[in-house]
Symmetry: C3
Subunit: 273 residues, 3 copies
Amino acid sequence: LGPVTAPITLLTDYGYEDEFAGVLRAVIAGIAPAAAVIDLTHGIARHDVIAGAAVLARALPYTPPGVHLAVVDPGVGTERRGITVRTFEGDRLLVGPDNGLLWPALERLGGPAEVADVSRSPVCLEPVSATFHGRDVFAPVAAWLAEGRSMAEIGEPIDPDRLVRLGRREPRIEPGRAVAATVAYADRFGNAVLDLGEPEAARAGLRVGRRVAVEVGGTSHVATYTRTFADVPGDSLLLYLDSYGSLALAVNRGSAAALLGLAGGDEVLLRAE
Amino acid sequence: LGPVTAPITLLTDYGYEDEFAGVLRAVIAGIAPAAAVIDLTHGIARHDVIAGAAVLARALPYTPPGVHLAVVDPGVGTERRGITVRTFEGDRLLVGPDNGLLWPALERLGGPAEVADVSRSPVCLEPVSATFHGRDVFAPVAAWLAEGRSMAEIGEPIDPDRLVRLGRREPRIEPGRAVAATVAYADRFGNAVLDLGEPEAARAGLRVGRRVAVEVGGTSHVATYTRTFADVPGDSLLLYLDSYGSLALAVNRGSAAALLGLAGGDEVLLRAE
Amino acid sequence: LGPVTAPITLLTDYGYEDEFAGVLRAVIAGIAPAAAVIDLTHGIARHDVIAGAAVLARALPYTPPGVHLAVVDPGVGTERRGITVRTFEGDRLLVGPDNGLLWPALERLGGPAEVADVSRSPVCLEPVSATFHGRDVFAPVAAWLAEGRSMAEIGEPIDPDRLVRLGRREPRIEPGRAVAATVAYADRFGNAVLDLGEPEAARAGLRVGRRVAVEVGGTSHVATYTRTFADVPGDSLLLYLDSYGSLALAVNRGSAAALLGLAGGDEVLLRAE
């Protein structure tokens, strides 16, 4: 990445109650003391690879180029690989389990240019535990990459086409009338982020300032498609373009996820009124 | 602030589950990689401007002079301004929404010496989203200020007298007998911090070592006014001078907020016994 | 510790909702701006000295040598001492209350080589509050030690033999048949970490791949002694060697602490089947 120690971003489902995230930081500090470590979040819901992947893909464009470590890893201790990926665009190195977690971020960065299997990297902390690869595999790999080691020194090259991918369920559009979209995840404010962009919403006939019927399961709610929360009264349901360019459902000063009973993976039908 | 990159403190209601606070750190690291970033807390209750303001005012004297970014911003996306304020005392630059959040901290630092409207600062990330000004406005503003840019380069000067202020409800003292005081906020230990200092308590006749009747709503409890938690038995209610110089109600190894049903903005009557 | 500012690790029960941990970081940054600060965790359960001590002892071997500040301090404001300890092994300085919190970590590092009472250190922030010694005593002590001040400058020497120790309840082994072990603590995933190592389990006749009867209170459960979570079906109870070398009880994708009703200090009987 260059002559200077690269920054390292962290994203995990380790939470904050335990020392797991702290031990990642400690291992990195021991190997790459000059590396700036940027905690994106350790609050991804446990084992929720889909939510972790969505958050990583959304946050990465706002981070400085460097090493990006992500661990949401229900398959730790199995034969799933640990990988490092150099992206085609943006001079970034992603590190984590090969379970799809890195895939949406990679897609936004032109795909994988070069991949190494780091499961048995010479820089691993030995003995590698069966349950904490963040500490024993991914943190030392990330730290040594930040220090300038090459991917060839760190792992075994593998074919980029063999990476595990995370499928995106494409929105199904009824032109000028409706669109069925998937909830990517709900944030702690209860905003339900949809896997749906503004051009797709426009093709489905949804217009800012208009009302939208939101159908979830068997029930229907009415939302306003608006620019910002303050455009609607408190407790009102709204559809809006969120700050990362995805459409999202929210309740002004409330929780859309709670109101509609939504979680990641659920499908909602949005119908122009 | 001088030739060296200034430290930046962060205080928000973004929580830890999502990547919002992490993205602030990432944007700052991209602009001001040498800036020390000090997370004061991201755990302010959602949209609780009063609690955020109290915590900021209490914590700031313990931070090194620099740039102090605070975001508790229920009005994001409305016409409320984003501001940068240079304090009269202490060589500090505060950055955040103009909704009163910064006001109690400013009052403790001699008031605002110079103010700039940064809502349309040339350093904003474009396009500025309607809902995440922390990322698009306040983080880049703070980072460039830490790098030494002047307030004139960052925003448009505005009259310091026009800042939104957060009123303090003055304690009402019945000399030698009682005082009615407001709860500023309750911390996670259930300690209810009062907007009340020791001299005011003394004027109301409250004395360390004595008992105090604590009246909340229609009910009355008995507390001991003491120096430290360990002076009373477990589960006992106590009034004490907290570590920031405010009087506070606590339960030794328990929660005063739960026992008394207190939240920020509530009024309690303390009567000397 | 040498000519360069030493890194400082932090472990507390301050939580994340309030500014307490942030103020520690701020005080340190004001005194030792070049010190790398590594948050191990601030999520130790309130006042749980035993859990804090176990987590500190487990995490420390993964941190770079430096200053290690730990605060879980139910006796703050009483006559309990504040201490700094230089370890026999590893060139580390531990800072915290003398209530046993530091003891298990010290035991793993060869014991205390040199101890100073820092309760009335000249570097304390004056006036020292009765309730926030983390800010007023331990943070400035840690920061000045990181800057290279000697223990003699920071506090008064005391006899290492007089430190408060935290007793370990030794496992009681019935050779080839069973072992009674204590729960050190449960992590947020519900994994119950036992104060039991692999050699002791082997002496009790427990073998990887075999079943183990787990008796808690009056009830008995069946676990599999396995290498990793993925070796058993979802919802199954397992006994495994955790990533720090302790045996632990877990439920694959569930919570052993919830299933068995376990908390720190509880005793479990493990019987070979």
